[in-house]
Symmetry: C3
Subunit: 334 residues, 3 copies
C-alpha cells in the first residue's frame, strides 16, 4: 500500500499531508464524541482498580523539530546520502517524559517516547497531557486494562481516554498481570492516528519477570518509517529505527564481551520488516536458533544472549529496499 493512500484516510478526509496542512482546522473536522464532551477534564483514577505497586509517569505529546538524519551520511556505505534523501528536518510529534505534575520535562522530546518499565504485579499510572493540535491518545499493547482505559478512538462510543484534545489531560491506569509478561509498545490511537503515529507518537513498554535478572545492557528498537511529507516535506521514504534513518544516525548500540544483552524489537508502520544482527544468533522459546526474524506492525519480541563476539556489527532489516533506505545501524562490542 503506498504511503499516500494511507495518509489520505486520516479522519476520513481526502487530503494530502504536507507542511501546508492546517492541523488546527483538521482537528475541528472530527466532532467531540458525546462521552468525551460529558466528561470532566481528567476523570478520577479511583474509577479504575489499582492493585499492586504503582509505576507512575507524566507524559506530554508535543511538537518537536526533528532531524531524521542529523549526520547526513550513511556510515554503512561511507557516503553522504543528503542529496538523495532530501532535507530531513521537520515538525514531528513526540511523547515527552516530565517530572511529577508536569513541573519540568525530564530531558528532550524524543522519538520514540520514554520506556514504560513495569514488573509483573505493577500498575502503570500514566498521566497524559496533549500539547499537539489534533486529539491524540496513548493505547498500550500487552497490559490489562478496563475498556475506558483503552486509549482508542471508537466513533460515538469513544471514552475520554480515546480522544484527548489539545490542552486536556487523561490518566491511564494499566495493570501488569503475569499474562502481560513481555515486550510491548504504546502508540496514539486517536481519530488521526495515521498522522500521529507516523509523526512519532509511539514508544516501548516492558513488563518484566520479577524472578529474572535484569540484563547488563538492553535496547528497545522501534522499526518504522517516514513517508514524504509526514515530518519532512520533500524526503524520499526513510525506513527508520527509533526516529532516525541511516547507519550512524540510528542508535549506536554498545556492549562488552560477557554482558548479558537484551534487544526488544517492535514494528509500528505500514510495512513488514525483519531484524537481522551480524555475528550473532539467539535462541527462540521453542528451542530453535535464529539470526533473522520477520515481524509486522504491532508485533514485538525480545531476544537475549551472553555477548561473546567483539567487533563492529551491523543490525538491520533484511528487506533490501528498507536496508538501503535507512533501516540499519551499528552494534559495537568491545
Amino acid at each position: 500500500m503506498a504511503g499516500g493512500a494511507l495518509i489520505c484516510t486520516i479522519g476520513n478526509q481526502q487530503f494530502k499531508i504536507d507542511q501546508g496542512t492546517d492541523f488546527n482546522a483538521l482537528a475541528k473536522q472530527v466532532p467531540v464524541p458525546p462521552k468525551v464532551a460529558a466528561a470532566k477534564n481528567d476523570p478520577k483514577i479511583s474509577k479504575a482498580s489499582i492493585s499492586g505497586p504503582r509505576k507512575e509517569y507524566w507524559i506530554q505529546a508535543e511538537p518537536v523539530t526533528w532531524n531524521i538524519m542529523p549526520k547526513r551520511r550513511d556510515q554503512m556505505i561511507g557516503q553522504s546520502v543528503a542529496k538523495k534523501v532530501g532535507r530531513t528536518k521537520g515538525e514531528a510529534y513526540a511523547y515527552r517524559l516530565y517530572e511529577p505534575n508536569f513541573t519540568r520535562p525530564l530531558g528532550p522530546a524524543t522519538i520514540p517516547g520514554p520506556l514504560l518499565d513495569a514488573t509483573v504485579g505493577d500498575t502503570l499510572v500514566v498521566h497524559f497531557r496533549n500539547a499537539v493540535p489534533i486529539p491524540v491518545t496513548m493505547h498500550p499493547h500487552g497490559v490489562f486494562y478496563s475498556n475506558e482505559m483503552d486509549g482508542a478512538y471508537k466513533g460515538q462510543w469513544t471514552d475520554p481516554g480515546g480522544f484527548v484534545q489539545r490542552g486536556r489531560t487523561f490518566t491511564y491506569v494499566w495493570e501488569c498481570p503475569e499474562t502481560s509478561l513481555g515486550t510491548w509498545m504504546y502508540h496514539d490511537h486517536g481519530p488521526f492516528e495515521t498522522t500521529g503515529i507516523p509523526k512519532g507518537l509511539f514508544g516501548p513498554l516492558v513488563v518484566r519477570d520479577p524472578d529474572e535478572p535484569l540484563p547488563d545492557r538492553e535496547y528497545f528498537l522501534g522499526f518504522h518509517s517516514f513517508l514524504p511529507g509526514v515530518v519532512a516535506p520533500n524526503i524520499s521514504t526513510i525506513y527508520a529505527i527509533n526516529g532516525r534513518g541511516y547507519t550512524g544516525n540510528t542508535p549506536n548500540l554498545t556492549a562488552k564481551v560477557g554482558d548479558d544483552v537484551a534487544m526488544h524489537i517492535y514494528g509500528i508502520d505500514d510495512f513488514f520488516h525483519t531484524f537481522h544482527l551480524h555475528g550473532h544468533r539467539w535462541q527462540n522459546p521453542d528451542g530453535t536458533m535464529e539470526d533473522n526474524r520477520t515481524f509486522g506492525p504491532g508485533d514485538s519480541f525480545r531476544i537475549r544472549w551472553i555477548e561473546e563476539n567483539p567487533g563492529r556489527w551491523l543490525y538491520h532489516c533484511h528487506v533490501f529496499s528498507h536496508l538501503h533506505a535507512g533501516m540499519s545501524g551499528w552494534y559495537l562490542v568491545e
Copy 2:
C-alpha cells in the same frame, strides 16, 4: 504486487477484470484436461479410502449479489465512507451449504463458505457442485487426502476434482488424522483461482481434538480483500474480514465474561496482515504471550482464552492502510 497484475494472470489471459468480462467465454479459453474429459461426471467415492466417521457436506459454488459494506458507515471512525469507497454491491461467488443431495439450500450464500467441522478421526466427504460459469474447485489445507482429491488445477495432469465445470459435481474425500489437528481453510484452486478466490470462494475448516472441550464461543475470521473490479467495479480497495469491510459491517463478535472464547484466523488474499485485539492477550504454544500476530496468505491459527474483560473492543489488522480501509471490527463482551 498490484491487484491489476494479479488479475491479469488469470488462466494466462491478458485481460482486465471488470463487470464487462464474459466469464462464459473466458471459461472456454482453457481446454478441458484429458483426465477430466475421460472421467464420469462424478467418480464413485469408493475409489477413496474412507475410514472413521463420515462428516458429509453438500456445497455448491454459485453467484451471489454481495454488498461488501451494507451499512455504508465505518463505526470505528463514526462516519460514512460511502463516497470514499464507492458502490460496494456487485456479483461475487460463494460456496453455499445445501441439504443432502442438494435438495434445498441451508440458508443464504455467504462469504466465506460454510465451516467444515471435523474431529480427529473423521473423514470429510464433500459433495461439490459448480454453478458459476468458470471451472472451480475446493482445495483443502491441513487434512490428508490422496492425489486425486487435491482439488488443484495442474495443467495436463489435472484430475477431475481439479477442474469442475459449470453444472458438474465432484465428491471430495478428505481424512483427518492426528496430524491434521488445527484450524485450516479451503478455497478454489481451479485454473481461474485468481478470479474465484477474490470473488469469495474460500471458507474455514477445523479439525478438533476429541479430548479438548469445545469453546463456549468461537469465531472463524477470514482476512482477505476486494480489489477494484473483482466484485464491485468502481470501489477503492477494501480490506475485508469475512466478506465485509469496515467496522459495523464486519462481524460483530460477542462473548460474556467467563466464556471460553476461541478465534480462528486465516489469510486468503495477496497481502500480509496482522491480527490485533484490544484489551486481550493470548498464550502461544511456546509459552509466550501475544496480542498481535503476523500471518500471510494460506496461514491459519487459533487463539483461545477465558474471557475476563467486558467492553466494546476493536479487533483489526495492525497494518494501518489495511485498518483504515476496512479491516477492523467489534468484539463486544458483556
Copy 3:
C-alpha cells in the same frame, strides 16, 4: 518497495539497471576502503582460530549466461508463458564450486551457489575468488565468526573480506558451534549487494546435528525474484525458486513413500513469501501442525516428515501474484 527504487540505491548511485550498465565503471565509483588497500591479497587464515574438523570449499563468483525459464512453459497452467514474460535469458552472477586450489570447476555455475554442508563442531573454510566486475563478498548466516570474517561492506571500517575486488581472493573461516544448528544461507554483502544478490549471488548453508540421522532426501529451496533488467532486460518480474521461474522450470523434487524427507527453505529478495506444499503437513518445534509458513528476506527454516502420500504435488508461495508469476514447482512422490 518497487524494484526500481531498490536498484537505484546501489552504491548510492542514481542509475537504472539495464544491459547497458558498465559494471567496470560502476566498480570504480566506490573507493577501496583503507583496511582493504592495506591488506595482502589473501590474509593468512592462521589469523583466525580454527577448531574442530575443517570443511573446505573453493568458490568463485563469476558471470553466467542464465535462462530463468528454459522451458518457456508454466506446467501448472499447461500453457506457454513466453510471450507474457519476455526473453528470460541474460547475464547473471553465480557462486561456482571448484576443486581445491581452483584447479577445475566442479560442475556448471548455478543459482543458487553450492550447499555449504557442515555439522556441529566443524569449521567452514571457504576460499573465495571474485571473477565479476564489481567487488562482492560472501556473508554467512547462522555460523559463528570473528568480525573480520563477516563478509560485509562497512564503509571506512570495511575489512578485506567485505570488499573482494575482481581477481582477488579471500578465505573465510566460519565456526559451527551448537548454537549454529540449523538451516541458513550465505550471500553477497559487498557495496553493490543490491546488484550482486538479485543477479544470483546467494546459496544455502546447513549446520547439522551429529546425533540426528540424515534424511533420505533433502532439498534446499531459495525463494527470490528477478526484477526487470537485473538479469533479463525486458522480462516482467519473475518470482523464482533456485534461479528458475514457473512450474517445470523450478526444481522437480522427488521422493518415494517411506522416505525421510527434509526441505530447507530460505528467502533472499525484497518480498515476503509463504511456503505451501499440497498433500502434506509438518510439525513445528512448538508441536503445532502446519502446511503453510510466512517468511521474509533472510529467514530460513527446515521442515521434515516421513513421506506417505504418493502423487504429483505442487509446492508454491501462497501469495497469489507470486504463485502466478513463477513461484511454484512439482514435488513428485512415487
